[in-house]
């Protein structure tokens, strides 16, 4: 199908485009951008985009699709549908599936299911250690060859420093990107809430900032020693921002991301023990939130991720500390990112870059851009609509979002994947 979207504000941070013009698509790929159609192009379908925006499909570096798993929380089919409703067309899924993605067979299963769903690109992240046990290295190169775009330990960071150093050295020699979440299990001490004003008042078991920063210091030293390409996932403290900035200044091959919810919520949100606010790493202090926002603005933090974790309702229907941590967040990644523009934290171009080309560049892919020849993955967005997140209207199988009732400005009107519409809001 040859498609033309005309007279629309096209935003592409990768190409530094922000202008009202036309987009041309043929055979599932971007054919060009501009007032003049490419030579010989004749559209089968023309969409009038007056008053709307068009930008690349989002790239989410961390979203759980719950498959393989129990299927109560979600499936690749259900969660990719949720993803495209939020404008995400490329999803990197961490290896903490059931079974763990530590083998070619699991990687291929995920890829097969994603092909069947045919809604978005699903890029598996393999496990660094067998069963995420932190003890024995998985077949790291085989996972890469099977299509894993990186390896990680999800929420089970390697505690043994020698094992981690070996994993880094091995990854470095095979040019494998490691996605690391820095956390010292001993300092975490089975905590459930940030060590701060609120945990002191509520008596929730505390997770100090040092549970992240002490581990990050170790991890950065080992990156320096091994030369591995490392991406630090879900940083949550002010000190972490400083440490990554310092590492970048000294030329270490590191990047990092932050979960969208950490940019809007703080420890105060757990004041009434609502388990929907129970996340890992925990919601931090106002100062941490402010530093994360500055880190984004200054370019220390490269990407914003959803850290989507769909959960069965029973997993949250428990006292705070007994509930499972995590937020169903594919449907709010874009909205929370654009809210940063409304709040003057980022300009529109910067905000979109954090969820499109920057994450794509981290994993070394061309996704997240409208460059000619790229897969035609893009969103048509109505900047004037106002909408409220309602639990019953969530598409993800997990409706565990603390943002229910939040009002957002601007909404995805349609998402295209490989030139086909995979989501349409209010289809006629």
């Amino acid at each position: 199908m040859r498609l033309m979207v005309e007279n629309i504000r096209i935003l592409d941070p990768q190409q530094d485009i922000d202008q009202v013009t036309n987009l041309y698509v043929a055979r599932g790929r971007i054919l060009g951008i501009g007032k003049e159609a490419p030579e010989g192009f004749e559209a089968d379908r023309i969409i009038n985009g007056t008053g709307k925006w068009l930008f690349p499909g989002l790239v989410d570096l961390q979203a759980r699709l719950a498959e393989p798993g129990s299927h109560y929380e979600g499936t690749i089919a259900s969660e990719t549908k949720a993803a495209v409703s939020g404008g995400i067309t490329t999803i990197c899924c961490p290896p903490d599936t059931m079974p763990v993605n530590d083998s070619q067979a699991v990687t291929e299963l995920i890829q097969r299911r994603a092909r069947q769903a045919a809604t978005a690109f699903v890029l598996p992240i393999g496990a660094i250690t067998k069963e995420l046990g932190g003890q024995y290295l998985s077949n790291m190169a085989a996972l890469k060859n099977a299509g894993c775009i990186a390896l990680s330990q999800a929420n089970s960071p390697i505690q043994n420093s020698l094992t981690l150093k070996n994993a880094m050295a091995y990854a470095a020699s095979n040019d494998i990107l490691l996605m690391l979440r820095s956390e010292n299990k001993n300092l975490k001490n089975n905590g459930v809430a940030h060590s701060g004003v609120v945990s002191s008042r509520l008596g929730l078991t505390e997770i100090p900032a040092s549970a992240e920063t002490a581990a990050l210091a170790r991890d950065l030293i080992l990156v320096e020693e091994t030369g591995v390409r490392a991406h630090f996932s879900l940083i949550s403290t002010a000190r972490s921002v400083e440490m990554i900035a310092d590492a970048k200044k000294h030329g270490l091959p590191v990047t990092c991301d932050v979960a969208a919810h950490q940019l809007h919520l703080t420890e105060y949100d757990v004041m009434d023990f609502d388990s929907l606010f129970h996340v890992t790493p925990p919601l931090r202090s106002h100062d941490d939130k402010a530093a994360l926002r500055i880190g984004l603005k200054m370019g220390v933090i490269d990407a914003i991720v959803s850290d989507h974790t769909p959960l069965d309702r029973d997993d949250k229907l428990l006292p705070f500390g007994e509930s499972a941590p995590g937020i169903s967040s594919l449907e709010t990644l874009l909205a929370l990112t654009l809210k940063l523009v409304e709040e003057d934290v980022l300009d529109l171009n910067q905000a979109l870059a954090k969820v499109t080309n920057h994450p794509a560049n981290i994993i070394g892919l061309h996704h997240g851009s409208l460059e000619t020849g790229n897969s035609a993955d893009f969103c048509i967005f109505d900047p004037e609509t106002h909408w409220t997140l309602e639990r019953k209207e969530m598409i993800s199988k997990g409706d565990n979002s603390p943002f229910q009732g939040w009002e957002f400005r601007g909404q995805i009107e349609a998402t295209y994947f490989q030139g086909r519409p995979v989501y349409q809001n209010n289809p006629v």
């Binding site: 945990s199 008596g203 929730l204 949100d269 023990f273 388990s275 705070f320």
Partner: protein
Amino acid sequence: MRLSTPNIQLNEKGKLRHFLTLEGLKHHHLTEILDVAESFIDPLTGEINKLDTLHGKAIMNLFFEPSTRTLTTFEIAEKRLSADVVNLNIETSSTKKGETLLDTLWNLEAMLADMFVVRHSESGAAHFIAKHVAPHVHVVNAGDGQHAHPTQAMLDVFTIRKHKGDIFDLKVAIIGDVQHSRVVRSQIQALSILEAREIRVIGPKTLLPSHPEALGIHVYDNVEEGLEGVDVVINVRLQNERMKSALLPSEKEFFNLYGLTKERLAYAKPDAIVMHPGPINRGVEIDSEVADGEQSVILEQVTYGIAVRMAVMSIIFRNSQELQEEKRQALLDLNMMETSE
């Protein structure tokens, strides 16, 4: 930014519906409890009479973690008010068979419970239960995790008031494990609401909250300095597991540094009282000479605990009844108006 818990424990008239924590309550809520408790104690004999205030009401004591003292005093309080009482040691029953906490709760509700008295090892468990019970069911927190033990704190301030007349203007020192103590968190809140002049906590940093300023307390690591000129000394039990988790080197060292001895108590005002929520560890946090000494009011606290718990439960049911009466009256008035039209 939310600075305080949305107070689900108050009804639409701002009166107690549940009793989950002292945080967010007002001076008058606390003085009402203290005054009602006072009225239950015979001024001549000091005994607590049996009343039929809660006749026909079913109270279920849901204890998800073991307790002897608190369960017993609640049970006595409930029986003194003539309630029907059921004790459930859930730790060894349904939840162990895979039933969820809410399943258990809703089954008990179906058995016509009017009130749950809950003890649970997780902070916020009483709030969680209160959010999910039917509108006519009330919840009293008998201790949740490290969060709150509000009836214990109320009996402590009741005891202080008995001896000192008023909480206002008093200097109170709390020695021991503040970080892991639900009792101390509630004590600090009760003392703050009742406008104690100064609340001091004394202990090593491993036993103090990471952000003491959030609790409005003054921190002392030197016990003599902390006790200087105080009116009330509250000693807190030291759990054995604090030694195992490397928060302290040994019981002996703790006693040497922070144990409440007669010599240390001499730094407090001469008429200072010594309290302890119990059970006490003699020779660990408190010396027997002090625990049994003339300044000690430890055993009185236990007796007052019954009166205070009776007060809390009777106030909650009275508030509920008043609200129902008001609603019924409003409905009658509305019907009258419609008829006259």
